[in-house]
Amino acid sequence: MVGPTASLSPLVRADGSASYQCPSTGSNILGSVNAPVELPGRRDALKPEDATVEVFVKPGTAPASVGERYVEGIIRGVVGRLILGRERGYQRRGVVITLAIVGGENVSRGDSYLTLLPALLHTALLALLSASVPLSMTFSATVLSVDAAGKITREPSAEDAAAAKSLHVLAFSSKGHLLLNESQGAFDFDTWERVRERASAICHGTSVGEDGDVAMVESADGQPLEGTIRETVEDQVHRDYSWKIDAA
């Protein structure tokens, strides 16, 4: 499987930005982060000792509605815990994350946003990194669908997702901890456990079997996502500091 393609800082005005293309769903997402910014007129919402995280998801070809508000809440929950809002200069300020779906299929009204959620999460993370917002850790996320026969599909297309029995989005921190678990549909604990193992393998490249054996599954799922995210940032840093590296 081909990994996602991403680039950092394509925009000029925003403090940090990222463009992200997910090869399986074909969606192209542009994210921007402005931080730290003043948020006047929202004094009651601001926390005196912490940064306020705002997430805005803008669909490509439709007005924003309930589905976007719902997914904004999930992203705010994940990202809000990673941002070190108590750092100098961030208290009482806002971290404004804007994610626009600028290419590929749109989520139609009333459909599940879970297929797009990992792409949105990755874009938000890369934009935050591009804006140099202090973070406690990075993460990687994936979406898996389980069909009636119990077969797990990684990053299903819209049709696959609609036919699936259950959909699961899992995010793992850079240390391997489970950060997010969003599921939809009917499933049992055994199924979820298999999904978690597969997701962990996709994100980190290793899966631990029941007997404690660590199996390398890189061949089946390609490069682990964690590595892809890391490499994108590494490439950018390498380019940004090329003047320094060349001089040394």
């Binding site: 403090d15 542009l30 402005n34 805005f56 490509g60 070809t61 404004v96 600028v102 290419g103």
Partner: protein
């Protein structure tokens, strides 16, 4: 907030004094556009416009809906533009500012009210179903002259977009997928574009395609919307100080020249994209001049 940080007094004076000596910060002549680049994405109606450092993405989409009761023969066409914090840190997400209302209004008048898109051709069944065309404008970078950039994007998008074919059979509407039948281009009656001028020194200095800083230093703006044939379909002097009537007369001919120039750039980009698609798609096979297999009746 919804307001850019104001220019400092010295910065404003610098821009003004330079303009009095016929010099612009980026070295352009008064009637010169910034470099314009129009590119198309994978799907139909996906346009990326780069005008200097202002950039935006326009996406055109179509869906079948019910027409308005008072206009049963007309399809729907909406232009949706929402300024988000992506374009400029000064814009608030989910709050409509003055700029958004103003730009949306001008775009509506130039593109929609001038009937650039023939809405009657969008009718499928009278009073029952019609196509609803939606143009979404995503501002990715804002550095002045939002109106002209958005107008270029929307017009290029409408010309690039292909909607699915719909057929009425025995009172039933059948919509064929993009790979089932050759998608249909929209019916464009004319190609209007807006050209924005900004005035300084009580209308004595007039410049075209101002950057964000020049916009902030200016006294007033004049928007002229016209098509290739020189038909003026929109003219506005919205706010600010007065402008001499001769400015409108003089600048309309400048605007016409620019509209022709921009439309030529759009046409060139469209042709290049079309020939690229011809290599990969079914364009040659689906030409109207080719022999048709008579449709088999069951």
């Amino acid at each position: 907030m919804n307001k850019e940080a104001p220019l400092s007094i010295s910065e404003r004076d610098f821009i003004l004094n330079a303009l009095r000596e016929d010099v612009r910060l980026d070295g352009r002549a008064a009637d010169q556009l910034r470099p314009l680049n129009v590119t198309f994405g994978e799907e139909y109606g996906h346009v990326k416009v780069q005008l200097g450092r202002t950039s935006l993405i326009v996406r055109i989409s179509a869906e079948v809906t019910k027409p308005h009761d008072d206009r049963p023969f007309d399809g729907l066409f909406t232009i949706a533009m929402e300024l988000t914090a992506m374009g400029s840190p000064a814009w608030d997400n989910g709050r409509q500012g003055d700029l958004e209302t103003y730009v949306t209004n001008v775009l509506d008048r130039v593109v929609r009210h001038s009937n650039a898109l023939d809405t009657e051709s969008l009718c499928i069944v009278k009073g029952v179903s019609c196509w609803s065309i939606r143009a979404d404008v995503h501002i990715t970078d804002y550095d002045g002259n939002l109106i002209d950039a958005a107008c270029i994007g929307i017009m290029a998008g409408l010309q690039h977009f292909r909607r699915q074919d719909a057929v009425v059979k025995d009172g039933q509407v059948i919509v064929y997928g993009l790979d089932e039948r050759v998608p249909v281009a929209l019916n464009i009656t004319h190609k209007p574009l807006s050209i924005t001028f900004h005035t300084f020194d009580e209308g004595k200095k007039v410049i075209l395609d101002a950057t964000r800083k020049e916009e902030q230093a200016s006294e007033a703006d004049v928007v002229i919307g016209l098509n290739n044939a020189g038909d003026v379909c929109f003219m506005s002097k919205f706010s600010g100080s007065g402008v001499d009537a001769m400015v409108f007369v003089d600048k309309t001919s400048v605007a016409l020249e620019k509209v022709k120039e921009i439309n030529a750039i759009i046409d060139k980009a469209l042709q290049a994209d079309l020939s690229k698609r011809a290599k990969t798609g079914m364009l040659e096979e689906s030409r109207a001049e080719n022999d048709r297999q008579p449709e088999l009746e069951v």
